[in-house]
Symmetry: none
């Protein structure tokens, strides 16, 4: 049996696969911080070399930002475009990490062994599940079961500024029958999931300027407008008391969930109490009339991701600052138009500025929500293949996060994307002490081998 | 005439007085930075030695922090306690200075000669005006016109941790009829001022915690409460639309300004447009029914001095943070009770926290406002003496900043303080390129000679 030999090879090769992942994790490829540009290039080089070791024709490809990595392998079978990203999130606050984020280790935990490092799950560990499945297949059969284009990005955590131009310029080379994306999670502990709905993302940075320089709050407090106060008022006004976002027109294009989908989601037995309890919360904070799963998968939101102004060091300084700024993001669903919402948001904030405060905005990306067309039989084949590997049947689910690349693949390359990943809710991606379960890594590799076999069939 | 001879002596001695000040300014006595502890001790030694040279019985006095300097001189006349501080602010950002901050120089400017150095005004130049006045008096008359206790602190720029215990332990030695403090400014360019109202200061740090760790805003945005949102709502609620502070009971103990004082302030011809215009503002932002001068001198305020939460670096990070915090200060007037306001503020903020958000407070000081009792004839004597020296009549004024030593003198020693100084708005104290006008130094010395004569009369 072709598949069984590959699965055995995967099991036998796991220690070496882990060694390779550890090497990859040691590269601090933080894309958002220019100080780490050389490390991003090093991660791209490492990936390209690893792919060449499996026989791919692979190389880093220059962009105005961090490089892409492209690799071609396989002579026959379906044409698959596989996407992952080698860049990682920043690591601050560093003092909350129990170890150096870029000194990975296998740790024993009450729930099993985990790989601990920045990027262990998001997305180095995940993308390597697919690479390792290809390596095992090649080792057993001397060839691949499909014509595979590997496509790795290094700017996913910093707004992907080079992605759209790169896709447009390399349409032909990237052409395929379907795209595979490994950057999502299981549903719960052991149910594999294929994401068919993704929220869009609009990122905005707001900077409010009051006085032309920092002032002494004793000398000017009172008559001089404080930009922190103006910014706080604007932020406070973004939600009403029922948790709805107040930006005018924000809910235009937000669809109601079809009852069939709603029923399927109810059947998943999502435990909202446990979901919130694991992060120290107990009361759903969003729209009062929506369930938490609905909020995350199918409702739009507005969050403040960061705020800073004035003196923030130790002790106290009675400054009345010149400026204050906030990073604000919107998750979008259905047909919400990110550009229309950006304009409406900016107009609303401008309208709230008191005299003597000016506001500037900077753009941190705008992507629409994605809805996959699951009529393609590849979706059902993959669902069955995943169900063979895991304890529970695979499900079609939504996703609260935004994976804009799926929308770009659809719009620019005309491809549907299958989003399949093996992360868990407690992986702490984007947080201190990020981890990836060893079981996720191992079964993830096996899952891709099964999916390759099913798609090639 | 006893005074005329002293004034002549002051004029003749000015070059040597400047030499002494330059020597003093060359000592980098930055109190907040432990690396400069030996320099603070050196400044204290220099001062004590200089005082002994005028016949004072003077010595540095050890404290748990930087030394105090005490000196006693004069055999008869009123008992005066003179206060100044020999420590200075840090000098960063150093690259914004046009010269080494501790290599003082006399510079020609379009507005006249200035002494340029860290501490030139705050407070080495100011305190030396009094020392030089005593030196000239002693040189002319062989004795002093009053029984003078010199009292110099070396921790004023770093929170004065040793001051209250020192005052308590040395009550008898510090006993006097009135205190003189030289750490304030002229009103405008050429009107001398005696500060009779000082605002108090209450400092609070507020930390709001939502989830137990930083979350991914895509995975949790919606159901999970964002602490930045909770903090922004609390800050936005601290003022109403008319600019009044909304903390319950905040205005308890705030006196209305007596019409006579209000009229006197109106007569000062304060130019609010120019005051705000110099810092890029045009519209008074505080209580709608108060003039800017009234706001700064006699009305309480609430300002946010700093705020931070979530990701604040370059680029974007879709984090839903665990915590957000703000530093908030209140300037107090009249009989406002800082401790009652602290409790009311904390209760208000606690009451605004949504479910799943907790709030912690830390205390950054609480001092009441000071209101001098100007019934003591010394105030009117000093006002007339100052008016003789300067182009314009001296005024009794308020001060927006907080000078806690005046409150401590009142509470611990039972002394009223006369706050008289010769700084100007453009002296850049606490900033790069600090200066003190040569005219302020010269007329300041002459002013103190006149005041000594008037008080001894």
């Amino acid at each position: 049996m072709t598949l069984d030999a590959v699965l055995t090879r995967i099991d036998d090769d796991l220690p070496l696969a882990l060694d390779r992942l550890m090497t990859f994790l040691r590269i601090p490829s933080i894309s958002t911080d220019p100080a780490y540009a050389a490390e991003c290039a090093r991660a791209a080089d490492w990936l390209a070399e690893d792919l060449r070791g499996i026989g791919f024709d692979a190389a880093p490809r220059t962009t105005p930002g961090h490089p892409m990595v492209m690799g071609k392998g396989g002579e026959s079978g379906p044409r698959l475009l596989f996407y992952g990203h080698y860049d990682v999130q920043p690591v601050d606050p560093l003092d909350l990490w129990d170890r150096d984020p870029f000194d990975p280790a296998i740790e024993d935990t009450p729930k099993g062994k985990v790989i601990r490092a920045r990027g262990a799950c998001d997305d180095k560990g995940q993308l390597m599940t697919f690479v390792e499945a290809c390596r095992a297949w090649k080792a057993v059969h001397g060839t691949l079961p499909a014509r595979i284009t590997m496509f790795f990005e290094g700017e996913e955590e910093s707004g992907s500024p080079s992605l759209v131009p790169f896709l447009q310029e390399n349409r032909t080379e990237l052409d395929a029958d379907i795209a595979l994306i490994c950057d999502t999670g299981l549903f719960g502990e052991d149910r594999p999931a294929i994401v068919t709905m993704l929220r869009g993302l609009l990122g905005e940075e707001v900077t409010v300027t009051g006085p032309s320089k920092d002032l002494h709050s004793g000398m000017f407090g009172g008559p001089a407008m404080n930009p922190i106060r103006a910014l706080a008022r604007a932020i406070a006004a973004l939600h009403d008391d029922s948790g709805q976002v107040t930006v005018p027109g924000f809910y235009d294009g937000v669809p109601e969930l079809p009852e069939a989908v709603a029923q399927q989601w109810r059947d998943l037995g999502f435990d909202a109490g446990q979901f919130l309890g694991e992060v120290g919360l107990s009361t759903p904070a969003g729209e009062a009339d929506r369930s938490p799963l609905e909020m995350i998968w199918s409702r739009p939101t507005c969050e403040v991701n960061g705020i800073v102004g004035g003196y923030t060091g130790a002790g106290f300084k009675t400054v009345l600052p010149s400026r204050a700024s906030a990073k604000i993001s919107f998750r979008l669903v259905g047909d919400q138009d990110p550009l229309a919402i950006r304009e409406s948001f900016r107009a609303m904030v401008r309208g709230m500025m008191p005299p003597d405060c000016s506001v500037e905005f900077s753009d941190h990306g705008a992507s629409r929500a994605s809805q996959m067309s699951i009529d393609d039989p590849a979706f059902e084949k993959a669902r069955l293949a995943l169900s063979d590997e895991w304890p529970k049947q695979a499900a079609f689910v939504g996703c609260g996060g935004s994976i804009p690349v799926a929308g770009h693949f659809k719009e620019i390359l005309g491809l549907e994307s299958m989003l399949i990943g093996f992360g868990k809710d407690d992986d702490a991606i984007h947080s201190p002490n990020e981890k990836y379960d060893l079981d996720s890594f191992h079964r993830g590799i096996r899952s891709w081998a099964r999916i390759l076999a099913a798609l090639a069939d």
